[in-house]
Amino acid sequence: MKDQLSSALKSNNADYIEIRLEESNSSRIMYRGQRLEEAGRTASVGGNVRALVKGGWGFVSFNDLEKLPEKIALAVEQAKHVGKEESKFSTVPPVIDKVVAEFKRNPLDIPLSVKKDLLDEYNEIMLGTPGIQTTTIGYADGRKKVTLVTSEGAFIEQSRIDLTLRLNAVASRDGDVQQVGLSIGSKGDFSAVENLHGQAKDIARRAVALLSAPQVKGGTYTVVLDPVLAGVFVHEAFGHLSEADHIYENPQLREIMVLGRRFGGKHLNIVDGAAVPGYRGSFKYDDEGMSGTRTYLIKEGILNSRLHSRETAAIMGEQPTGNARAISYQFPPIVRMTNTFIEPGTTTLEEMLSEIKEGVYAREWYGGTTSLEMFTFSAGEAYTIRNGRIKELIRPVMLSGNVFTTLNNIDGIGNDLQMNQGGGCGKSGQSPLPVSNGSPHIRIRNCLVGGK
């Protein structure tokens, strides 16, 4: 196959062409309350061709792999229709490699009946909690093999195994409905979703407790975020803005995002990298055949680098970082995060809390989004802080901020870094992409909290 693909690429006149072929298999199990809602399997075969001519791109995706030369010709023709300038695309050494899927306890070797029994156990615990109205559970696992062939001579085959679990408990009383969820993910280790019985009990109890919890008054507070929510915060508040495709063609933003600009205190270090091993955002090569790296986005409070595809790197005159990722063969690769985290500092949670007279302690996540400048992220769980102590449970809060000021308002960074793998990232219709994010506990002054 290798020679066939490589020769198909040679005969066309383009600055760069890549073929990406994909094969995947997945299964999922979903519950709603007692009811097993879906047990299903999916198989998928498809591919795409992307061509670059004079700075213009053509992209053709398909399921029928038979007529590849025609697809290549179409992609080149489309690129020619667009291209009017000079192509800028970073050179990376063409690699020939085969990367096999990493796994510890391979979910694909575990029978569906065992998975179902485990979910039944979690479901019974949640449904057996007094006050719980219903539950939803979604489990999915799958294997994906991607083959990348480029006109530069790269031939890379990579396989990965991914699994996710979401447990959600819904409590209801007098027309009021509250819910608490838990999301877990792993790159190939089923044990990540085992032994969660205690946590299942916990989320169910908390959902019930929320029915009698008060809502916080909206306004600005000093907030302390746990590692999970702080991970979502760093992803939304800063990660997306460091994706170079938002910046590279915008002269004003390039000025604002100039390397060397101060964004936070000296204690603030933010890293992204697929080369950080073992997480859902980890890989050896990105979807343009560039090796994954480990990039300091912010080093000692200063903007140090950003996330690039080969095109954004070339146009901005910076080094590519291996962050071009596509969620499937139906999309071209775009600049994405991988594993994004705030490096740990030296403060303890107790020290952070001790200086707060009135504030909010927010834990776990429900969601997050960004417009680049403004971002919102919502906690799964929240408490008031009074006189240095975590006090009563309140309804989950949504927090919001402005990236250009909020990072500067981080005045405490804990020593307890934790990575969270339960989320998926969405951008330009490509969602949910496997990523991880993490942080130690952090404290943010003057943070906007929505509420009554």
Binding site: A39, G40, R41, A43, S44, N63, Q78, Q179, E249, S400
Partner: protein, 432 residues
């Protein structure tokens, strides 16, 4: 399809095959310039079968041997959902106009020109704006067949254009934009250009605001981004059956203002969400969900309807898996008030154009909270500028219980909902 059914029939009591074929040609613009042309083809096949009282489900993108698909579905049927309904027999379907052959006549260059016209018009107004945009045309064909003798097919054409502008000024970022779609080609750029220019005009200056409760007008985009998700969730027959909907005991009860009516209507000619039958082969129909403030009906697929002891409302939709209830094309009744006259009646208030993050809260409960990505201040009956660093929060049921006025400015948002502007007396505003 027939081959899959005949293999499935030998191993299972009944079976249903659903297929979708789609082609789409988008042209993408970045930073005001054409950047990429795409051609996307997708083929998908889904098999649902009933065996020993349980449902097996498998789907494939691309080519798969019929025998393999059946084997995958049989594998899952050992554990699957318990059967509580039957696949429908031969049906007769309403005639819904959703295929416009003129789509074929639209060239890539026509699409490029349309986007360029919008960008030119917007840049004439605001030269430093950078637009990311795309125009796309496509055709999708859906087929369904089951062992009860039903088989049917339809094709739908689609044209859509979206333009998002970003303006960076003095460290401020302003986002404006519009999306329109139809089964027919869109050839006139002026509606889109005018909408974006209107947003730019209203946001020209920044206005200051303090934390308090204020009257609010949601523009059609504001309604779609703030108020819709909780209602869609609460009216879903599945949420109701699970007891997780705040409307579960409210059928027939008046819970919202009399001015507020919401229907799901997939039979509108050339509506982007229109179709003759749903993804289970059930005829499409117009469903009045909320009628003058009264909870009139929930929406169902086959399975959920059987659980709830009712019939499917033709809302079985496949979003990557087995069918589940989903609305096709929501319409909120419009009113008689002009937007400007609503603004004139407000001494101090806000307009919400885009709310960011509203779906991240506990939408089951109707609560929403979000950052005002695009919104304006009203002072003494006039729009005085953009509000920033502002969060609003509220509860949909409380807000819509007392609607002050509905605008006469109904429009489709992304082909999914048609809504007017809605003026409510009070929303909680938090700001720095």
């Amino acid at each position: 399809m027939e081959e899959i059914l005949s293999i499935a029939k030998k191993a299972a009591q009944s079976a249903e095959v659903f297929q979708a074929f789609a082609t789409r040609t988008p042209a993408h613009f970045e930073a005001n310039r054409l950047k990429q042309i795409q051609t996307k083809e997708t083929t998908g096949t889904a098999l649902r079968l009933m065996k020993n009282g349980r449902i097996g489900f498998a789907q494939a993108s691309g080519l798969i041997k019929p025998g393999d698909l059946v084997a995958m579905a049989l594998d899952t049927s050992q554990f699957g959902q318990e059967v509580n309904f039957e696949f429908p027999g031969r049906q007769s379907y309403p005639e819904v106009k959703i295929h416009d052959p003129n789509i074929e006549l639209v060239s890539i260059d026509d699409m490029i020109t349309l986007v360029e016209q919008v960008i030119d018009a917007v840049r004439k107004h605001t030269p430093e704006i950078l637009c990311e945009a795309s125009a796309s045309k496509g055709t999708a064909t859906f087929k369904i067949a089951n062992t009860k003798g039903n088989h049917a097919t339809y094709s739908r054409t689609n044209f859509s254009i979206s333009v998002d502008g970003v303006l960076v000024r003095d460290g401020d970022m302003l986002f404006v934009g519009d999306v329109r779609s139809s089964c027919s080609p869109i050839t006139d750029h002026s509606l889109i250009s005018a909408e974006i220019i209107r947003q730019l005009d209203r946001a020209k200056r920044n206005a200051s605001i303090t934390s308090r409760t204020l009257p609010v007008i949601f523009t059609p985009y504001g309604v779609a981004s703030s108020l819709l998700a909780p209602l869609v969730s609460a009216l879903n027959g599945k949420t109701v059956f699970d007891g997780a909907s705040p409307l579960k005991d409210k059928l027939g009860a008046r819970i919202l203002d009399e001015k507020f009516s919401l229907v799901d209507d997939p039979t509108i000619p050339y509506g982007p969400g229109s179709l003759p039958f749903d993804d289970e082969g059930v005829p499409a129909r117009k469903n009045a969900l909320i009628d003058r403030g009264l909870v009139n009906q929930f929406y169902y697929d086959l399975c959920t309807a059987a659980l709830a002891g009712t019939i499917s409302t033709g809302n079985g939709s496949r979003n990557g898996g087995m069918p589940s209830p989903s609305p096709h094309a929501l319409i909120i009744d419009g009113g008689e008030d002009g937007f400007d006259s609503m603004v004139k009646n407000i001494k101090e208030g806000i307009i919400i154009e885009q709310l960011m993050g509203a779906e991240q809260g506990n939408i089951l409960n109707g609560d929403f909270s979000g950052n005002v990505l695009l919104g304006y201040k009203i002072e003494n009956g006039e729009i005085t500028g953009r509000i920033k660093d502002t969060m609003v929060s509220g509860n949909v049921y409380q807000l819509l219980k007392a609607v002050e006025a509905l605008g006469n400015d109904s429009r489709w948002i992304a082909g999914y909902v048609r809504t007017p502007s809605i003026f409510c007396p009070a929303i909680s505003v938090a700001t720095k």
